[in-house]
Amino acid sequence: MANQATTIFTRPESLNEVVTHYCPGCTHGIIHRLVAESLDELQLRDKTVGVAPVGCSVLIYNYFNCDFLEAPHGRAPALATGFKRLRPDMIVFTYQGDGDLASIGMGEIVHAANRGEKITVIFVNNAIYGMTGGQMAPTTLPGQITTTSPAGRDTASAGHPIRMSELLATLRTPSYIERVSVHSPQHIIQAKRAIKKAFTYQSQDRCFSLVEVVSTCPTNWGMSPTDSTKWLEDNLLAYYKLGLYSEPDDEEDS
């Protein structure tokens, strides 16, 4: 009886055993794992198509063990719409950064949500353009220094950061929208619960679902991973409040 080994932690089947290209301390890796665990637990992997963004996570298709499409910058929700409409029996998710989703892809995400496409969007908000080297994003905080806002984001000319979850929650079409974070084990557990719920809603053909994950970019924020986590908690979470923004049952049925 003693010494009998039981496996309590393994790599999800939905992830490939490969080394990722993400910087040390980057939260993309954690978020990938949460998506993969959800697909495994809901047994969706072999009928799932992911849609990769343009951004640091463009190579996500190498890390996941499911079919993938690679979209032009910002257009993942349009590709997902096209595919899902033809294959409503399959599960389709996009994985997008904040430049991808909230800037160049603003039109596609708003209309996919408004049409109530039965897709799941994993929206990784790190308040900066990671891949291109740390330029200002629509989500960059007021005063935040980036390579294209060297004096800090000036809201007089760049406007205020866009809160996507709040914005999308104003749409009348039923949806599931929740903002989570992955900066502590407790938050990771909550994030997992939200991601799994999003895929569950999709597999029940219920509604459009989006989980916004407030994330870090130690490299372009110019901080250590631990300082990044602290900065996220003190600054990003003050502006991007965690919580549930929309549930399908919220809407009046009419």
Binding site: Y61, N65, P72, R75, A80, F83
Partner: protein
């Protein structure tokens, strides 16, 4: 099947359905909105997908996603809308997916006008998006031909896993003509889609549909693969039609689409006046029927080659390339939505013949 009188746009829509093109994404734009209106009614009857998107940018990308399923997908638009689709067209070509696009061209540049034009020839045949890629481009000149080529477009796009674009001017979309649909659309056998369509990684390795190749060698290989396909298209898919080509022709007209039809009227009228003119009408604009056109141009009797277009002169550059100096190539065109009248073209040809016959003027030096 009996002939029925149909508007071009509607006939094209029906032809797509008959060819199994049951998945349609669109955004309204004149002069082709009737396609969407027709399909909004018809698509539910055939159990297909009809979606009016928020923009042509989205339409192109929906096509991209939808095409990855392996099912037949298409869109229709007009010039400014087609410009917005160039991003996705480049990606779809790079990822080697099939899809069909129809451009009912209107005058440009910019918002231009809403009347017929042929000024998107460069965009369609030379690549309006970024990167080394080609579309297979077909140009009908009657509604019946629009029906036939629409059906063929789906076949060719599956055959080559490449986007196929049909281009017609506003006349093709708006005109009514009797058309006949085949009882059943019969097509040659096509390679299966089992090795590339995304269907879920069940009992097989996962699949990726992408145009990203970060390794320059891999990207170069992808480009070579694409060009091998384009070479095959050049060998197999050049299409054209000749009208009243004979050893008596003094002038050879090269023209496509509606413009070619007007030229046929001109040729008939000139014939009754004793002037012999022939017409070479490219049906595939890419691949351009180069060899075939060159053969006609080189015929001894042909003095001048005249390209007639509803543009400032775009296809004429390909005609010049084919002629390669062997014969003079001239151009006549109207644009902005103006369709040249047969009389105008006729006068132009007569003037050309007069000039050709006149002895070359000497320029005197001094007095």
């Amino acid at each position: 099947m009996a002939k029925i009188l149909m508007k071009g746009n509607e006939a094209i829509a029906e032809a797509a359905l008959r060819a199994g093109g049951n998945n349609y994404f669109c955004y309204p734009i004149t002069p082709q909105s009737e396609v969407a209106e027709y399909l909004a009614k018809r698509m539910p009857e055939v159990g297909g997908v009809f979606l009016q998107a928020e923009s042509e940018v989205a339409v192109g990308n929906m096509l991209f996603g939808a095409a990855a399923s392996g099912k037949r997908v298409f869109t229709t638009s007009s010039s400014p809308g087609i410009s917005l689709m160039q991003e996705s067209i480049s990606y779809i070509a790079g990822a080697q997916l099939p899809c069909v696009l129809l451009n009912i061209m209107r005058g440009g540049p910019g918002l231009g006008g809403i009347l017929p034009a042929q000024s998107d020839y460069f965009q369609a045949t030379k690549g309006g998006g970024h990167g080394d890629y080609r579309l297979l481009v077909l140009a009908p000149s009657t509604i019946q031909e629009a029906v036939d080529l629409t059906m063929l477009a789906f076949h060719l796009s599956d055959k080559y896993r490449n986007p196929v674009m049909l281009i017609g001017d506003g006349m093709i979309g708006q005109m009514m003509e009797p058309v006949e649909f085949p009882e059943k659309y019969v097509e040659d056998e096509l390679p299966g889609k089992d090795d590339w369509a995304l269907t879920g990684a069940k009992d097989r390795e996962k699949r990726i549909v992408k145009s990203l190749f970060l390794d320059p060698l891999a990207l170069e290989i992808n480009n070579h693969e694409l060009y091998k396909k384009y070479e095959l298209m050049k060998q197999n898919e050049a299409r054209y039609e000749c009208y009243k080509i004979s050893a008596k022709n003094k002038v050879l007209i090269v023209s496509y689409g509606t413009m070619a039809r007007i030229c046929q009227t001109v040729i008939d009228e000139l014939e009754s006046e004793g002037v012999s003119v022939g017409l070479f009408r490219p049906i595939s604009l890419f691949p351009f029927p180069e060899k075939e056109l060159r053969k006609e141009i080189l015929k001894k009797n042909v003095g001048t080659v005249l390209t007639v277009e509803m543009s400032m002169g775009q296809m004429v550059e390909d005609v010049e390339k084919v002629a390669a100096g062997a014969k003079p190539v001239k151009f006549f065109g109207r644009t902005g939505g103006i369709v040249p009248s047969p009389d105008e073209v006729k006068e132009n040809i007569k003037e050309m013949i007069r000039q050709d016959a006149a002895p070359a003027k000497r320029t005197r030096k001094g007095k």
